[in-house]
């Protein structure tokens, strides 16, 4: 285990040097096609590590518990620091952990370890009762982790302020820029219902959507019930609070995440893996002991 802790420590130090020399991780730079290229390169490196594992000791070590456990401990510690410090998009170091090199490197290394052990298992399948839960859990996590991280730069989240009687084509990006959308939304009516004590019960917008692809849709968007059209999910986000139920505007959030199907595949695999763990987990031990 000592080697693993030293390796993890090396990653943290490397991360600190990178943080000091090149600054925080620039995730925006990973927009398509850069993230696709990085993913391909990443998978190639994992495959090479797997193929050379018998020639190069370090690559064999990566696929061992002695590498995995210390790396997880580092991830726990760094994530605890993240949980104890206030996170801020404009923060640095601990205050913006997601761009802090040591944090990123430790999680990338977890993905490398996952990749190597998944490949090794895939090449040596022999007992489905062990292999299936293993692959669902590990491959699911690998898929969700890598595609969620790399796909993040392609995610678009914009706010659209819609008004009654005025179809709106433009939306505001998180950076405050105006963006022309491939669809227009006109607010038909804003709906706000309250409980007897005045606390909110329902926020919703009756809207008409016109898309560049020629669709003309009338629908209602509720909190918790987004509407999806042409790869965009439309969410109820806000309204004119001063007008309350009489609000003539409704703020909608439009989200596009082209990598979502891959992330969801990973999530569903992990869900199936968890069910396997519950059903088979205990029994496996009984056989061994």
């Amino acid at each position: 285990m000592k080697e693993g802790f030293l390796l993890g420590g090396g990653l943290v130090i490397t991360g600190l040097i990178l943080e000091l020399s090149v600054g925080p991780v620039m995730w925006e730079a990973f927009a398509w096609p850069a993230n696709g290229i990085v993913l391909a390169g990443f998978l190639t490196i994992i495959a090479i590590m797997y193929l050379l594992r018998k020639k190069i000791y370090a690559f064999q070590f990566i696929g061992s518990y002695h590498a995995a456990i210390p790396t997880m401990v580092y991830a726990v510690i760094l994530t605890i620091i993240m949980g104890l410090t206030r996170q801020n998009i404009n923060g640095t170091w601990f205050n913006n952990m997601l761009t802090f090199w040591p944090f990123v490197l430790v999680y990338v290394f977890i993905a490398v370890i996952l990749g190597v052990i998944i490949l090794r298992r895939l090449m040596h399948l022999n007992n489905w009762k062990r292999d299936l839960p293993f692959l669902l859990n590990h491959l699911g996590l690998f898929l969700a982790l890598t595609t969620a991280t790399l796909g993040n730069a392609d995610m678009q989240r914009v706010k659209m302020i819609t008004s009654i009687g005025e179809p709106e084509w433009r939306a505001l990006t998180t950076g405050g820029a105006i963006k022309e959308m491939p669809l227009a939304i006109e607010l038909k009516q804003f709906i706000m219902e309250t409980y007897d004590d005045g606390s909110p019960k329902r926020f919703a917008s009756e809207i008409q959507i016109l898309t560049k692809t020629g669709k003309n849709i009338e629908t209602v968007v509720d909190v918790n019930k987004p509407y999806e059209v042409d790869g965009w999910k439309i969410y109820q986000y806000g309204y004119d609070t001063e007008m309350g139920p009489m609000s003539q505007t409704s703020i909608l959030e439009l989200v596009s995440d082209p990598w979502l199907p891959l992330v969801y595949t990973g999530i569903y695999m992990m869900l199936a893996g968890a069910v396997c763990m519950f059903v088979l987990g205990g029994k496996k031990k009984e056989i061994i002991t």
Partner: protein
Amino acid sequence: MMDWSCFIYFAITAVLLWGVGAWAAWRDKAALAFSTTIVGLLVFFSFILSMWISLERPPLRTMGETRLWYSFFLPLAGIIVYSRWRYKWILSFSTLLALVFICVNLFKPEIHDKTLMPALQSPWFAPHVIVYMFAYAVLGASAIMAIYLIIRGKDVKSEMNITDNLVYVGLAFMTIGMLFGALWAKEAWGHYWSWDPKETWAAITWLSYLVYVHYRQLPRHRERLALWILIVSFVLLQMCWWGINYLPSAQGSSVHTYNMSET
């Protein structure tokens, strides 16, 4: 109309039944242990169900309401573990812990209104919280077992498969609860994972239990260290469950505090 004032009658009946079940388990009267525990669970659940109906929403929103579920799931987890591995002590443990949570609700009730804000009106709400509560109950059992084994000393190798089994079940449910949360978050907030303080601590807790599971797979490892990992994991779980409510870094930045801040 059912409200918290009726709680004490249901609670006393259920605890008495669970107590008989716990006693029966020690005496190897499995049939009696099963029947009384299950009847106790039905009594307790009928209160939850009545609350659900009279509140016109699942009673899952406040700490007091989640304690209600926790008190329900502890004996349920206990009886499932008992049916599978026949540990005599498990029902006593689960009854005692359920009693603690019932007492908290009796003496420090957080009585609540009927309202459920729009952000929580989702079919994901009930499964997400219920699955998590069940995971917490089982992992609580594993933590108590770990403390017991550490205090008792001696050779713990043979009893370690108890903690292993509990952790496998608890971790499975925790994973499901977390991923349900991710799927719900996508529908409610537009993203499946936002590193909200609650999510960050959920990830910490999850990883920490993974450390235990993997460390136990090492051919040569120290059992006592593994037990300590389990205890630390459960402390981290407390942070995730209620600790972040008191954490300065999480104030005002967590969507899990349920203040509608739409503008």
